[in-house]
Assembly symmetry: C2
């Protein structure tokens, strides 16, 4: 996780380094940074899938796995952006491989291809038992904040 201070700026790094609170959605998911390599465009994060995410059959509702994947793939890109850019997700495709039990879920995200504007992202979630529970791809669009 060797990233020089110049690149550790903006909302993402402010939250990671404690200069700003964690965004509510990330806090709700128990989001935690495990490892990051902005040069490779890869990230490893972890989530805490609590009882509140369970569906009627007692496994994590697929939608919350989708939320975790969104918060895995997005940060792989966002961590590499300068302070005046952000990158909304245009679409997200999730395949649910097997039921996910509650507990610690690890997310691996990566930039598949980075264009000037359009970026293709991919990743997967590993359940508490070490098995892959879901995979996803996403498209994101880099946008620059225009200051008035």
């Amino acid at each position: 996780m060797e990233i020089d201070a110049q690149r550790r700026r903006g909302k993402f790094w402010d939250a990671i380094e404690g200069r700003a609170p964690m965004p509510p959605a990330a806090a709700l998911l128990g989001w935690e940074l495990v490892a990051i390599d902005p040069d490779q465009g890869t990230i490893e994060v972890a989530f805490e899938a609590g009882e509140q995410f369970l569906n009627p059959v007692g496994v994590v509702q697929g939608g919350f796995l989708a939320a975790m994947l969104d918060d895995t793939l997005g940060p792989a890109l966002v961590a590499t952006l300068p302070e005046d850019q952000f990158a909304p997700t245009l679409d997200l495709h999730v395949q649910f491989l097997r039921p996910a039990r509650p507990g610690r879920i690890v997310g691996h995200g990566r930039i598949v291809q980075r264009g000037r504007d359009v970026c293709y992202l991919a990743g997967e979630l590993i359940g508490p038992d070490g098995k892959t529970v879901a995979v996803a791809t996403a498209t994101a669009l880099i946008q620059t904040v225009r200051s008035g």
Copy 2:
């Protein structure tokens, strides 16, 4: 919402009719049934997108919209199943059309095609201002619970 009592059985209807608690994931999303037509395979539900779902730029994190869509499309099918069947989602594709502000979000779900096992589902979410914020398609597989 004219559905005879014989069809109002199983986990889905137990939660709707207060015979069982709402599943945690649905409760967390503020899930509420607005209207349902199992013969048409359509459902209208509503969610309460609270502050806890917001991302760093103050709009609902896309992943939680995905969670809401999963909990819109799934119930369109689940409401039509007999008590001994359930239908896990195999995949979910979400397109994010515009940012969603916090507030009441309405979901419309429908069965596009129902096979003996495989079902194709679609739907969309309408934000507090009446504009469509996200659309989705999903594939679900009907499974029968085998009693030992």
